[in-house]
Amino acid sequence: MIVADRKPLEEILEMIKDYEKVLLVGCKGCVTVCNVGGRKEVEVLGAALRIARKKEGRPITLDETTIERQCDPEYLEQIRDIHDQYDGILSMACGVGPQFLSEAYPNQKFYPTINTKFMGGATEHGVWEERCAGCGTCLIHKYDGLCPIARCSKSIMHGPCGGSAKGQCEVSDDIECIWDTIVRKKMEQGRLEDLRIIRENKDWRTARDGGPRKSIREELKK
């Protein structure tokens, strides 16, 4: 799923400082699963904004709603009747949300309340880790199900680099050296020869380097 963090309250307050009536829109997709933009988080942020503005002596009218998915035009229709009743709209979805909202309602102003970080999952309660860089050409099978593109700080295809020590990345002790893990797994399984192959230069055209991407499924198009 897409994993995100909420922006600091001060930053959100600054975005809407001139507004008196605001709508806060949550999303029941990924950001609900990673506990950052679902109904519960919408309530918490909504309350915090109201309190902060009251304290400033400039109370705000802030309505809340949480829709199925902000990345689907069908569900964006859920706010069509009310979208023009506000000075601005805060989106509590990943970076896709405010953009789909902007495209659906060109006359309204939309603001992000969260920072979208990566594609990953929860490794323990309250901890999410990156697993995929969305490079568009999956190579995971060559590395026993572990992706060096997403998980090595240098995305190298022949690791580990000289900075790997005790299973940790040179960048931080909090980062696992994924190459250390790949190598140990191959050694344990007696398949070291898999790592004696010189890999071709990666074709980054399928990644973001090739420009903004589209996925077209002709059989699904109407």
């Binding site: 700080s153 240098k154 995305s155 190298i156 295809m157 022949h158 690791g159 580990p160 680099c161 000289g162 900075g163 790997s164 020590a165 005790k166 299973g167 040179e170 960048v171 931080s172 050296c177 250390d180 190598v183 140990r184 050694m187 070291l192 790592l195 004696r196 010189i198 890999r199 230069n201 990666k202 980054w204």
Partner: protein, 313 residues
């Protein structure tokens, strides 16, 4: 190969091919356009070493470009070993710089991953890593030997570089390090300069594995030496420099030398190392990285009895 049977005809290549024990040095370009400062540093190395590594934004701190500093040295009659890291440039920029470097008279090149920019003075920058160090070796070899770019197009005058790479015998997982060295050799490196060595027992073991695997028949391995200036420096390197293995005994030895004598003890240890490397099977030379201590190189070279350096007509 050139007509003379050499790949590049660099001085370093000639020294190694002739079977001499190579001795290379290192020089970091200035944090600015201070050419005089650069000259002052490398002049200490003139006649003392076979080639001088010019670092490329080392530790991810921005400095005068390694290609420019290398070209200045070429003009001044000292042979550079031009370092290139994968952190700062994509394959287009790499190929362009390789061609540019060669056209400026640079004949040795060291292919490196590079420290992550997190360590440096511009940690906000984007990290490139379009290709990695092993792919950089292969690409340089392709351009040199086949006269081709990776897309199959012809190179109009191939860059005849003597291709080098680094190896860290002390990184983890330890058992895999010699295999990664083998990958670099398969990719086409002509010589290797190792990470600074302090843990001698471990390095002896590493070299034995390399010899047993036949790697030293395919590539010249230069052992990395950085003299410690003090016990404090040793402790710092042990703790903060990625992939560095500094045994406790060395720190104790430096501390035991007493105040004012630690630098001399550090040099003494480095000289002992060089003496051992001369005898060690598979070691073709020493790469001396006297960081911000270039003026000590003549003294160390003298003590290690590696002078005079061989010359060729």
């Amino acid at each position: 190969m050139n007509e003379n049977g050499l790949k590049s005809g660099s001085n370093l290549e000639k020294v190694l091919v002739a079977g001499h024990f190579a001795f290379t040095g290192e020089c970091g370009p200035p944090k600015g356009a201070n050419v005089e400062h650069l000259k002052e540093k490398y002049e200490h190395l003139r006649g003392m070493v076979d080639s001088v590594n010019i670092t490329d934004n080392q530790t991810a701190v921005v400095r005068m470009s390694s290609v420019a500093a290398s070209a200045i040295m070429v003009g001044d009659g000292i042979e550079p070993n031009y370092q290139m890291v994968c952190r700062d440039r994509n394959r287009l920029a790499m190929m362009a710089d390789i061609l540019g470097a060669y056209s400026l008279g640079i004949k040795n090149m060291l292919c490196l991953s590079g420290d992550h920019q997190h360590f440096g003075n511009h940690p906000q920058s984007k990290n490139v890593y379009d290709i990695d160090s092993i792919q950089l070796i292969a690409m340089t070899k392709l351009m040199r030997d086949e006269g081709k770019f990776p897309n199959g197009e012809d190179v109009d005058v191939p860059p005849k570089m003597f291709i080098g790479a680094a190896s860290n015998p002390f990184g983890d997982p330890y058992e895999f390090r010699v295999h990664r060295l083998a990958n670099k050799i398969d990719a086409g490196t002509d010589f290797i300069q190792t990470q600074c060595i302090y843990n001698m027992p471990r390095f002896r073991e590493f070299m034995k594995m390399a010899v047993d695997m036949g790697l030293t028949e395919k590539c010249y391995i230069l052992a990395g030496v950085t003299p410690m200036k003090s016990a404090r420096m040793a402790k710092y390197m042990a703790k903060f420099v990625p992939g560095m293995d500094v045994p406790e005994e060395l720190i104790t030895r430096l501390e035991g030398a007493g105040k004012g004598k630690q630098a001399a003890e550090g040099i003494k240890f480095a000289v002992e190392q060089i003496e051992e490397f001369k005898e060690m099977e598979g070691v073709a030379g020493v790469h001396l990285m006297a960081i911000e201590w270039e003026h000590k190189v003549p003294e160390i070279a003298e003590m290690a009895k590696v002078l005079p350096r061989p010359t060729f007509d």
